[in-house]
């Protein structure tokens, strides 16, 4: 039984200009101890998908799914109280903006200990010791002193480490990292990624790593799910995906990697992810796809079998066509 199983997840926002479907029939399956990467440009609904699972979306969002199960429990069935017992304990999440994700009015120690008190019921002394231990674990020097420091006194990288310490405080079984390195300097990015993968290895927790950077995926994940405009367009083990991408979108993302560039300029995918008003009727990627024809523009594609990476495409790229292409 997978640790997390979500089938056909749809999230629709009620906006002033009508409903907007930010997530459109997405599937996520994560096994215990697995690392799943979800890749896609910004605006593809990656964050919304995770927030839907955590129950963090505002009331304007309508969330529907066929299955939304964590460790055998149906998340949609849980009362808000039961769900709170799960969030921050068994499922923890870290976010893109470390500087604004910590409360500026409370010191670091308070915010870490708060999670410990909420879920583990440790006493004062135990909380204090555990907090120091956690800061040590995420590589923050002189942790005892750092407990009394406020978020604005730390750098972005340090704040993200604090966020990670807070997230792993109650030994979660699933950690969701939503673009954990996007807001950080390049040198710090690698350190934080190493920290995350190291922690994942040591604790055996499962991890969903959300990113828009294929480079990050290559170094960390085992399986990759590619998301576009609220849909999963392809899913493969990481090595297979890098070797033989089946969806043109994946192909284009990979071609945009600096180390794969053949010309001087980085090839970029022209255009942007469709928003509320320019959603195509056929394949959502068709307006930007170099291979698209009339069928693509008029008919939504079906999902291909596993051998073709579940690609949501009329004309998936196979190894053979790639040669001829």
């Amino acid at each position: 039984m997978p640790l997390l199983e979500i089938r056909n997840l749809t999230v629709e926002f009620a906006t002033a200009s009508g409903p907007f479907r930010a997530v459109d029939g997405a599937d996520i399956v994560v096994e215990s101890g697995d690392i799943l990467a979800i890749v896609g440009e910004s605006g593809s609904g990656k964050s919304v998908m995770m927030m839907a699972m955590m129950g963090l979306l505002p009331w304007t969002a309508t969330v529907t799914s066929d299955v939304m199960r964590f460790d055998g429990q149906d998340l949609a069935d849980l009362s808000t109280r039961e769900r709170r017992r799960l969030m921050g304990k068994d499922i923890a999440m870290i976010f893109q903006e470390p500087m604004s994700s910590l409360n500026p009015c409370f010191n670091v120690g308070y915010q870490i200990k708060e999670a410990l008190r909420q879920h583990l019921g440790l006493d004062r002394k135990e909380r204090h010791n555990r907090a120091i231990e956690l800061l040590e674990q995420v590589g923050i020097p002189s942790p005892e002193k750092r407990l009394n420091v406020f978020p604005h006194q730390l750098s972005g990288g340090m704040n993200q480490r604090v966020m990670i310490a807070m997230a792993i405080a109650c030994s979660p079984r699933l950690l969701i990292a939503d673009e954990p390195t996007t807001a950080l300097d390049v040198t710090i990015q690698a350190q934080v990624l190493d920290l995350l993968t190291g922690l994942q290895r040591d604790t055996g927790m499962a991890m969903i790593l959300i990113t828009h950077d294929m480079g990050v995926v290559a170094e960390t994940a085992e399986r990759v799910s590619v998301q576009y405009a609220g849909q999963k367009v392809e899913e493969q083990p990481v090595t297979d995906l890098f070797a033989t991408p089946h969806h043109p979108y994946t192909f284009a993302l990979l071609a945009a990697l600096p180390e794969r560039a053949t010309e001087k300029h980085l090839p970029t995918i022209k255009g942007v992810v469709p928003g509320q008003f320019d959603r195509p009727s056929g394949c959502l990627f068709s307006p930007r796809c170099t291979f698209a024809d009339e069928t693509c523009k008029s008919t939504p594609p079906a999902v291909q079998p596993a051998s073709l990476g579940y690609a949501r495409c009329h004309y998936p790229i196979s190894a053979k066509t790639e040669e001829t292409a």
Partner: protein, 335 residues
Amino acid sequence: MLKYFLARLLTFLPTFVGVTLISFSFIRLLPGDPIIVMAGERGMSEERYNALMQEFGFDQPILVQYWDYLLGVVQGDLGQSFVTKRPVWDEFFALFPATLELSICAMIFAVMLGLPAGVIAAVNRGKLPDRLFMSIALVGYSMPIFWWALLLIIVFSGNLGMTPVSGRIDLLYYFDSTTGFMLIDSLLSGQEGAFRSAVRHLILPVIVLGTIPLAVIARQTRSAMLEVLSEDYIRTARAKGLTPARVNGIHALRNALIPVITVIGLMVGTLLAGAILTETIFSWPGIGKWMVDSIFRRDYPVVQGGLMLIAVMVMIVNLTVDVLYGFINPKIRKR
């Protein structure tokens, strides 16, 4: 922190000079001659009039009068009342506790109801509690104090006979003032029913004086909370599985308090202005009533000294708020 405090203190200097100037000129701009008013209906001989003019220094040029006043202020001498002949300073501090007691109680009333109302409205944005509270706040804010006071008096004192309409305590009770605060003094006196009587006398004035601050605090809390609730750290707090009470009441409110405290500080001036009206309506023997009476008597030293002391009080409160601000917002403390 000390440097911050001193810097703030320095900025009060020009304000202070301005206040002396305004308080000095305000009463002189009103038509009416204090000596004539003092003489009343009996009138006064030419010689006596001139002698008094000289005694009070009104024969001097206005700038010299101001300078004398300023010199006195710097030495802590505000002159003495034309009417009672007692030092303004003494009169002010004899009456100030009554005003302070009323104002503090009104502020407590406003904060105790305004903060929760603002939080509940923000958390239930657009729903019934939000609309209800904000409509009430709007009505409360726009209500003329006089009219509101009369309405309360008619209903609670007139129809229901529940509350007294004037003074600080029933005439039945008599005891020496130790602290000047009737609530405390009545308790200290040990007389049965004295405290209850003091409380009952406070209720209507406190409601009347506290209504506008209550409305302002509720609205300010609501808008500050709405802003804070969309912050990333609130999402983090919820992702941690904290209860809504903790998320809204601790993580959000703590941040929302920063602008609210500023507003509370700024409202002290409004509160004192309101106290003048409220004290007059309820015959509350505080500085508000004292000031109004003195204005009618053209008691120059009392009006100018009283105004200045009130202004200084407001400045002190604002300074306190600034310091408090630093404690609530760690980002400022470190600067």
